[in-house]
Symmetry: C2
């Protein structure tokens, strides 16, 4: 037996660890459906909203953009094929790996350069040197 209890935005926020402002933002941009309201206009959420919001949050944590999440949610809504979901995940994985590669290049350059730094005088600071030259 499901607990069909409804709750306000504050409780939803606490139970999902998503900011109240962010929840309203997700509603505005169409990620979270507009919930029913009290007579006074306060939003009333149910566990379906909570689940969806957890899904969104988790996807954000894994680096999906809101657009990608919209896509995923679209898949989940319909009768999706697991392969479609996998495809989206692998595409995103590719993105992540590119970003990692980028960052590791930066890391190496910076670490190498900083290692050559011996706190000497101004004229020959290797870091400034590196920053002053276009990359080869």
């Amino acid at each position: 037996m499901a607990q069909n209890r409804e709750f306000g935005i504050g409780e939803l926020s606490q139970r999902t660890a998503v900011n109240i402002e962010t929840i309203r933002y997700y509603e505005r941009v169409g990620l979270l459906p507009s919930p029913p309201r009290t007579q006074g206009g306060h939003r009333l959420y149910s566990s379906a909203h909570r689940k969806r919001l957890v899904f969104i949050r988790r996807s954000r944590e894994l680096g999906f953009t809101l657009d990608e999440i919209r896509n995923l949610l679209g898949l989940v809504e319909g009768s999706y094929a697991c392969g479609d979901v996998q495809e989206a995940a692998l595409a995103h994985l590719k993105h992540i790996r590119l970003k990692i590669a980028d960052l590791r290049r930066m890391e190496r350059t910076l670490a190498d350069t900083a290692a050559r730094c011996e706190g000497g005088t101004a004229a020959d600071c290797p870091i400034i040197d590196v920053l002053s030259r276009a990359p080869g």
Copy 2:
């Protein structure tokens, strides 16, 4: 003998591979000093600007924020100690490493999950599963 030739924003853009709009933006936010102008109001740059802009671009490529770059430029302007520059670089390196760690967590989770995916039916897609659960 230095070539004291002056040139327009278009040439500066080409020689530094920085967008024209971005150059003007850097001027607006105080990263690049306002150059002299022609009578008609067109900007006239010299090699000092070019060098500074290359420095900015290179720093951006290494992931420094505009604020950090302002800082670095401030150091370079004055009679900086190499140690100060190194400190800034190492602080930034720390940031980068945190980001890499974040991304690698995402990568692992996604790769692991996607690997368990066999293109089966909807009900038991492991990716959806992962996304539906708060991280533990």
